[in-house]
């Protein structure tokens, strides 16, 4: 451990020194200093550690240090059946657990060649969009608080609380939902629950406008966000950034539209794109996205078809409970699926969805067993954190919090 620790430290120090500056790193009398931000700093949104090299208040270079929340999920997956891994996906991007559940089962279904029923697909869209709203609301609150607007934090969390009340009825818990199943869902969307979603949407637009109004013409907010954390369109593409940050750089890229999955092609929505490349543009993209999510939710609720929730594939999808109690065949399938897994064919697939942070993808290699041979998670937060040094260079120390806030990283997902 000791030598590894030293090596890592050396690497960080070298990265800091390599920044093109003529101030030497060893000379203590130079007014150059290294500031260690995090991993417990409240403005770093979780356990992100940042090493900043400062000249006065100007950032000469920055190095993000990740991995404090590493739980080895990719390795854990190799020892679970596909079904057992579902609760682990809740804990990736813990601000939008439902969206992760959906992304994961879509990947497994693609691997196993199962197609979910129409009703399930619509309910999954509702889940994913509610998760996007919840995640963006936390982002709105925390980012506004990072630049000094505490009111919006409380308002954002109030709205999110209402979404979590919906999840409580829909999935049975507020947070770690584990809601989707391979080939279906844990339970159906009840009419009471869709009524809850509708009444939430009815009041949400006003509340969101209220939050928006308090910020957009506020001089302090605008001044702290404008021209900060700039990353050009080309750089953004080179780093592989996805999601709202990319769309704030003028790239019109949204997997919901460009690589359609579920029933998104049947829904009408607009992909907000801004060209300013700064923190302010990211704010606008996400706020507009919330409004689009509301539109999608309304359409999905209106179009929600009747029908079964679970696909009729007895060897791969868990049977209906009442049949398990009474019929031999279903009982055997229940035992087989739980004990040995669904044994998808040998092969490998990648499936990505547009999560709230960007492209959330699962790459699965199957050797025809009940558990994945390898499971790789392409987590948007991890990739989006990489250009931090570019965004921060030349900025002031107070910009750091605004930039991190605008990236909206969730360390559960970045560190996996």
């Amino acid at each position: 451990m000791g030598s590894d620790g030293t090596a890592a430290k050396q690497k960080i120090l070298r990265a800091l020194e390599n920044a093109d500056t003529n101030v030497s790193f060893d000379d203590v009398l130079e007014h150059d200093m290294v500031l260690n931000m995090g991993p417990q700093h409240p403005a770093t949104h979780g356990v992100l550690r940042l090493l900043l090299r400062l000249d006065g208040e100007t950032i000469v270079s920055a190095v993000p240090d990740l991995g404090y929340l590493h739980r080895g999920y990719e390795k854990i997956a190799e020892n679970c059946t596909f079904h057992e891994f579902i609760p682990h996906t809740d804990r990736l991007d813990y601000l939008s657990p439902l969206a992760n559940n959906v992304a994961y089962v879509l990947a497994v279904e693609k691997l196993a060649g199962i197609e979910a029923t129409r009703r399930t697909q619509y309910i999954r869209v509702i889940c994913a969009e509610l998760a996007r709203l919840a995640s963006h609301l936390v982002w709105l609150g925390t980012m506004a608080m990072d630049v000094g607007a505490v009111t919006v934090l409380l308002w954002g969390f109030r709205e999110r609380e209402k979404i979590q009340d919906i999840w409580d009825v829909l999935t049975g818990v507020r947070f770690t939902t584990s809601f989707t199943r391979i080939g279906g869902l844990a339970q159906d969307l009840t009419p009471e629950c869709s009524a809850m979603v509708t009444s939430f949407l009815d009041q949400f637009a006003d509340n969101l406008n209220e939050c928006e109004k308090i910020l957009v013409r506020n001089r302090i907010f605008v001044e702290r966000c404008e021209g900060i954390g700039v990353i050009t369109k080309d750089q953004a593409l080179q780093y592989g950034i996805t999601g709202p940050i990319l769309r704030a750089c003028g790239v019109e890229h949204d997997l919901r539209r460009d690589a359609p999955y579920l029933v998104y092609p049947e829904l009408d929505f607009h992909v907000p794109v801004y060209h300013d490349c700064d923190v302010l543009a990211r704010f606008y993209v996400r706020v507009q996205e919330m409004k689009e999510s509301v539109k999608i939710l309304r359409q999905a609720l209106a179009k929600l078809p009747e029908g079964p929730v679970n696909a009729g594939d007895p060897k791969k999808v868990l049977p209906k409970k009442e049949h398990t109690y009474g019929r031999m065949e279903e009982l055997i399938h229940d035992f087989m699926i739980i004990n040995f897994g669904i044994n998808p064919p040998i092969g490998e697939i990648y499936h990505a969805v547009e999560g709230s942070k960007g492209e959330l993808g699962f790459y699965i290699v199957s050797h025809g067993e009940g558990h994945p041979w390898r499971l790789k998670i392409r987590s948007p937060s991890f990739v989006n954190l990489q250009p931090l040094p570019v965004m921060m260079k030349g900025g002031m120390i107070s910009d750091v919090v605004a930039i991190i806030g605008s990236i909206d990283p969730v360390m559960g997902e970045a560190d996996k």
């Binding site: 579902i86 009825v169 049975g172 607009h270 409970k321």
Partner: protein, 178 residues
């Protein structure tokens, strides 16, 4: 990567508001006094709005039937329904359940001699309930769990058994929605 081909749903410039830059702020926005007044107004009007919070220990929350509280064993006619098949222990992603089965004179033929759930491990995922072929383990409405030691947190059969009457809501919900 090129820009993706624009489809019929491509962006229409007028459907999204333009960014308000610093140069777009009016004189009143710049001097900030109206903002301060507005801020005070918000604070004061907030006092008269309905409260959103709950005074928790005094005001209790009643969970909906879909709620996944702590898992319990269903007790019917004085005995547990469980037949110690071990499926719940197999599916549990947190490895929280331990079952040891044995034979009995009753119609169900097998019963659990020992059934333990370590509540410190349990993540309330509800997989055990979903897998059980006997409707013998279900998620109850109880969500208040406190322990004073790690041993307290390992619930044996005596703590897990709950009569079927108490679980009526949940069982009905499951039959309808699963």
């Amino acid at each position: 990567m090129d820009n993706p081909p624009s489809t019929s749903k491509s962006m229409t410039p007028d459907s999204q508001p333009p960014i308000i830059h610093k140069k777009d702020l009016s004189f009143l926005d710049r001097i900030y006094i109206p903002q301060i007044v507005n801020g005070l107004r918000i604070t004061i009007t907030q006092i008269f709005r309905p409260k959103f919070t709950r005074q928790y220990p005094e005001e209790r929350w009643t969970p909906p039937p879909s709620f996944r509280g702590r898992p319990v064993l269903v007790e019917q006619n004085g005995v547990e329904r469980c037949v110690a098949c071990g499926l719940c222990a197999r599916v549990c992603p947190a490895l929280a359940i331990e079952v040891q089965g044995s034979e009995t004179e009753l119609l169900k033929e097998r019963y659990p001699v020992k059934f333990e759930i370590n509540m410190l491990r349990c993540i309330f995922c509800g997989f055990c309930e979903e897998a059980c072929p006997e409707e013998a383990i279900v998620m109850s409405q109880e969500y208040e769990l406190t322990f004073t030691s790690q041993d307290d947190a390992v619930f044996g059969k005596e703590k897990l058994l709950m009569s079927v009457e108490k679980l009526r809501d949940r069982l009905e919900f499951l039959r309808k929605n699963r």
